[in-house]
């Protein structure tokens, strides 16, 4: 494997993360000192329809995982409704993803400014920030930033004398991955258990408390001031045919320099791993990569020349998801990876629909048996059968994503599953099984 390659993005200048390394980057003074809220001022001088057109022209797609075109979603918001809401999704629970956290903790005003522009464009007078309950610092920073924005007249009544009003408040989640799914988030905001809703109606038709609601991930919102400042052509000039603009890639796992890297969409996985994240730790060989967070299918080291974009990753059999790159070196047991990720999803299942509620547990159990060498070769096909059966028939996309780790791990690394069954131990990690009766901690070096 080439351990070094020339950057194709050396001329790229980060925008979303340009402030985060400055001291006091979260403060409104810092933000204002670097041209902050200039875009909002400009946007409020134009008509909402003009702003929507700008966003459409930019080609901005949602950064929360689904990649839905933002401008199209804005157009879905009914024009005649007297009251509309904006819901700001900071739940960020997808394993491997830690970009939103960094944005909130280090540059919250960028999101407030984006939210203000979005709210103005769709006519929402009230913005609800939903933040993952464990983000203690994030909650503090959001709250302070909102208070400061009110004080400086960027929130509240008659913002910048435009006649536009926007109220904003922060709401903490109670620690459920599913509450990041937009309709479960709306339920949670309403004080109900976090179960996804039936669609249609979509949030833009009937969202929070039954009113038209625009839901956005905060990285999506953070892009908006820059599009206003630099123009849609600048944004559309970055990226690939169907994936425009800069993107923050959270890189974790067996790399020398894990962290968030802002790069243009379309950058290859190879460049992210070897040029930016410093390559694989201890000079080991790369084995597998999850390109877009735990719910996206695993890829092999052979596939890392794929550009990180919605369409190219889909063609390669995976998804861009949240752009969270999880890197695994040659010492990683793929059976264990599949088992542990499946455990996460079964733990996070909301329990509403049968295939996810019970199927995820059965999938986990089957993987656990194979990992411990207690299964038989046909069990591997049974795992595939179950994964295939669950995929596509669940109430919400989470149930379908939950089968991705098992399915893709077997597809790419079937021999490892067979080794576990045949040999009763893991060849890769050289772990033997204690075979504890409760199945917990069955591994030892």
């Amino acid at each position: 494997m080439k351990s070094d390659s020339l950057s194709t993005t050396s001329s790229f200048e980060p925008v979303l993360t340009r402030n985060i390394h400055r001291p006091g980057s979260e403060k409104i003074e810092t933000y204002l000192g670097n041209g902050g809220y200039r875009a909002a001022r400009r946007a409020l001088e134009r008509t909402p329809a003009e702003i929507i057109q700008l966003i459409k022209d930019s080609g901005l797609r949602g950064r929360g995982g689904a990649g839905f075109p933002a401008g199209v979603k804005w157009e879905f918001m009914p024009r005649d409704a007297s009251q509309k809401y904006l819901a700001v999704n900071t739940d960020e629970g997808e394993p491997g993803t830690f970009k939103d956290r960094e944005i909130v903790e280090r540059d919250p005003h960028q999101v407030i400014e984006g939210a203000l522009i979005a709210a103005y464009a769709v006519g929402a007078g009230r913005a609800f920030v939903y933040i993952r309950g464990e983000f203690f610092l994030g909650v503090k920073r959001w709250t302070k930033a909102i208070a400061d924005a009110y004080e400086h007249g960027f929130l509240g009544k008659n913002i910048l004398k435009s006649g536009f009003d926007l109220e904003m408040s922060v709401h903490r989640g109670a620690g459920a991955y599913i509450c990041g799914e937009e309709t479960a988030m709306l339920e949670s905001l309403e004080g109900k258990p976090g179960n996804p809703r039936l669609k249609p109606p979509y949030p833009a038709q009937a969202g929070l408390f039954g009113l038209p609601t625009l839901v956005h991930n905060i990285e999506t919102l953070a892009c908006i001031p820059h599009i206003i400042e630099r123009g849609p052509d600048w944004f559309a000039g970055i990226g690939t045919a169907q994936s425009k603009g800069p993107k923050i890639f959270s890189v974790s796992g067996h790399v020398n320099r894990p962290g968030n890297y802002e790069l243009p969409l379309g950058v290859t996985l190879r460049e992210i791993i070897y040029t930016h994240a410093g390559g694989v730790r201890d000079g080991r060989r790369l084995k597998a990569v999850i390109p877009g967070g735990a719910s996206t299918p695993i890829m092999t080291a052979m596939q890392i020349d794929v550009p990180m974009a919605f369409e190219t990753l889909r063609a390669a059999g995976s998804e861009l998801g949240t752009g969270a790159v999880i890197v695994m070196d040659e010492t990683t047991c793929m059976v264990e990876v599949a088992r542990r990720l499946t455990r996460f999803f079964s733990h996070e299942s909301c329990g509403r629909c049968v295939p996810c509620r019970i199927g995820s547990v059965r999938l986990y159990e089957a993987l656990e048996r194979v990992e411990r060498g207690q299964g038989e070769i046909p069990d591997i096909d049974r795992i595939l059968e179950l994964a295939h059966g669950i995929g596509g028939i669940t109430f919400c996309p989470m149930g379908t994503a939950l089968v991705n780790p098992a399915r893709s791990a077997i597809k790419c690394f079937r021999n490892e599953f067979e080794d576990h069954v045949r040999k009763g131990h893991c060849v890769v990690s050289r772990r033997a099984f204690r075979g504890g009766p409760d199945g917990k901690d069955s591994h030892r070096r």
Partner: protein, 365 residues
């Protein structure tokens, strides 16, 4: 609004816009299996047993939540959806007690019927399963969470039929299960024991205690009647075995109750055969045979008699009182257990026969 025409299993079906594929199929006599969906409740889309194939849709869609549109082409029995249904059933049975032999719901259980129809055994994905204690701490409803398939019919029935919101789902994922009030016993929740939840539960999770062990559905005669408790006139279907009422359901086609009943109508039928029940009129001994009106002697005893005699005694007593103290010394209180017609007649009796306006009704108090 103009009718919508679609094709279900090759048959052209006309239906109204806004209806679900499930409703359209049902109207056309095409059966699609349902566990969470119920005609009297809002759609839920949770069980995924009703999946159908719809042309142009990538994945199978739940018939109960998918709305009809013109030109829709639906397959309800394609190999793909049959396989999906089997998987759903296999998964449900993998965490189910499978004690159908003695289960109160045998013969009236949708899960059992579907497992039979789709030839699904409970052994494909066996693994961790629940072992909740059965809760029979209240007089009316036995709760066995091990048999709950989390379809939320009971939750929706409590919310949308009785309007009480006593039931909700507690915990999440594999451990999601029904609970009452703040997850305590049913009797400590706002539950009014109307039994709507029992009526819609597709499995043996919620069962009427009075019926347990009293008879299988095929041993039971169903008799439609009007509830005898009050003047509302709810239509009931009594479950009768060996001439004894062992259970009652609100009839879904009852014009005034549409399936709903109160606790008395659904669970209060043991009085019919109760030894304390009076089945003949009684009169105090002294009124029939003379003697002193004294509480300590035999004159105070009740004597069974026929209706004519009893009414005669009552009429005589009323006439005497009226003669001695005047008509306004008599007051009449009507009962909500009487029909409108009976109350009307009582009004005639008071005003025109006895001659007093002293008449009132318990429901007004």
């Amino acid at each position: 609004m103009a009718a919508v025409s679609l094709k279900i299993d090759g048959k052209t079906v006309e239906t109204a816009p806004g209806r679900s594929v499930m409703q359209a199929a049902r109207d056309a006599g095409i059966g699609i299996p349902a566990l969470c969906d119920h005609p009297a409740l809002p759609p839920e889309g949770a069980c995924r047993i009703c999946l159908v194939e719809i042309e142009g849709q990538r994945a199978p869609q739940p018939a109960c939540t998918f709305q009809v549109s013109a030109g829709l082409v639906v397959q309800t029995r394609s190999p793909h959806v049959v396989a999906a249904r089997k998987l759903v059933l296999e998964l449900l049975l993998s965490d189910h007690p499978l004690d159908c032999l003695t289960c109160e719901s045998t013969g009236s259980c949708l899960l059992q019927d579907l497992a039979y129809e789709y030839d699904v055994k409970g052994d494909r994905w066996r693994g961790r399963h629940h072992d909740y204690p059965v809760d029979s701490s209240n007089p009316f409803i036995q709760v066995d969470r091990n048999k709950c398939i989390v379809c939320r019919r009971c939750v929706r029935a409590c919310n949308s039929i009785n309007g009480v919101e006593a039931i909700s789902i507690f915990h999440r994922g594999f451990n999601a299960s029904i609970g009452f009030g703040a997850d305590g016993p049913m009797q400590d929740s706002p539950c009014e024991f109307c039994g709507s939840c029992v009526a819609v539960c597709p499995t043996g999770a919620l069962r009427p205690k009075l019926a347990i062990g009293k008879g299988r559905p095929w041993q039971v005669k169903k008799v439609d009647t009007i509830c005898s408790y009050c003047g509302v006139g709810c239509k009931l279907t009594l479950h009768v075995r060996d001439n004894r009422i062992i259970g009652a359901d609100g009839a879904w086609d009852g014009p005034v109750n549409r399936g709903w009943t109160c606790v008395k109508g659904r669970f209060g039928h043991d009085y019919v055969r109760h030894p304390d029940r009076l089945t003949k009129p009684r009169v105090r001994h002294y009124l029939l045979h003379g003697g002193k009106k004294r509480r300590d002697g035999t004159g105070w005893d009740w004597v069974e008699t026929d209706w004519d005699t009893a009414l005669e005694v009552a009429a005589r007593g009323l006439c005497q009182i009226r003669g001695k103290y005047g008509a306004d010394s008599i007051g009449v209180l009507c009962s909500a257990k009487c029909l409108n017609e009976e109350n009307y007649l009582m009004n005639k009796l008071a005003r025109q026969v006895i001659g007093t306006n002293n008449i009132d009704h318990c429901a007004r108090l």
